[in-house]
Symmetry: C2
Subunit: 189 residues, 2 copies
């Protein structure tokens, strides 16, 4: 097909557009640690689960293996400097306990108070895929900043989440269409 | 904490901000089928893998189980009507073979030519999590529209991917910061 270019699968992770930007919270050897991640997705509705891929060499992997728990924190564009720093500096070399104000739920998984959304997960299972371990966590509790909520729940406009794509961060853009609605125009064609 | 609201974990999947919008391509009983999905993430770098969560009741689950393969297609905002339609109409009731121009790689997993990015996956493994099966696919080939590429590879501005959040689609927004760079400002503080 002359309209398509075939690319090497080795870079395939850079082709899933777009990705979220989250902070994975763990406790490693008694210290709160936060790692920036973009490879994260809801994995199940009932029971609610989230999956996140972590490179085996990461300090974060030690924390999840040790405590069978982790948190997923959704930062705002307002925390982009701290968020990116957590992807540059390893907890093995730098003390990240002061990066955020940590709070805890039931499990040994620190949550970052400064992030608008905090999701506490207990480890359900994990799959060793090669360079990365895919950790699947059951959602145990969810916290949202009151200042980022409306009567309809967490508000994207007030949260201002960070989008990740090819080593760059982006803002969310404007409204495009309603899901489970826009497609009806196809049936009407 | 008076600044946080505790929410029921049952709705936890609506709190991972933001999510991508993709089309999962499968062949079910000899027919090409496409399902809209937002619960999708890279899962491993070496070898390259992608994970996608599919509800067991979905027609798409039949296709992956049957052929041990699926494709992930990244639509543009230009395909938002067709994309949303694939999340409304089930392949069990509606023939979706004409939704897109299907092409194939090595596996029985149709790819949608109209979508700027197409990723062919062979099934590596899957995990039954409850309502959803988390399918993990090894990336076998990647195709990108030449019109959506630059010398640096796939171009987010030309692709115009669709962001999904709480039953609404959004555009990508403007550039925020460079990853693995912006965080250095924290160390300089």
């Amino acid at each position: 097909m002359k309209d398509k270019t075939s690319l090497e699968p080795t870079g395939a992770h850079a082709f899933l557009f777009p990705m979220p930007t989250v902070l994975v919270g763990t406790e490693v050897e008694g210290k709160a640690n936060y790692m920036t991640a973009a490879w994260c997705t809801p994995a199940c509705a009932a029971p609610p689960m989230i999956a996140v891929a972590v490179n085996h060499i990461r300090h974060t992997a030690l924390g999840i293996d040790e405590n069978k728990a982790f948190s997923i924190n959704v930062p705002s564009v307002r925390q982009v400097i701290e968020t990116d720093y957590c992807g540059i500096a390893s907890g093995a070399k730098v003390d990240k306990t002061k990066m955020f104000t940590s709070f805890y739920g039931t499990f040994k998984a620190p949550m970052a108070r400064e992030c608008p959304i905090n999701i506490e997960c207990s480890l359900h299972s994990s799959v060793d895929l090669g360079s990365h371990e895919l950790y699947i966590g059951q959602v145990e509790s969810v916290f949202v900043d009151k200042a980022c909520s409306t009567e309809f729940g967490p508000d994207p406009v007030r949260i201002e989440p960070i989008i990740y794509l090819k080593s760059k961060y982006y803002h969310m853009g404007h409204f495009l269409a309603d899901a489970f609605s826009e497609g009806k125009k196809h049936a009407e064609k």
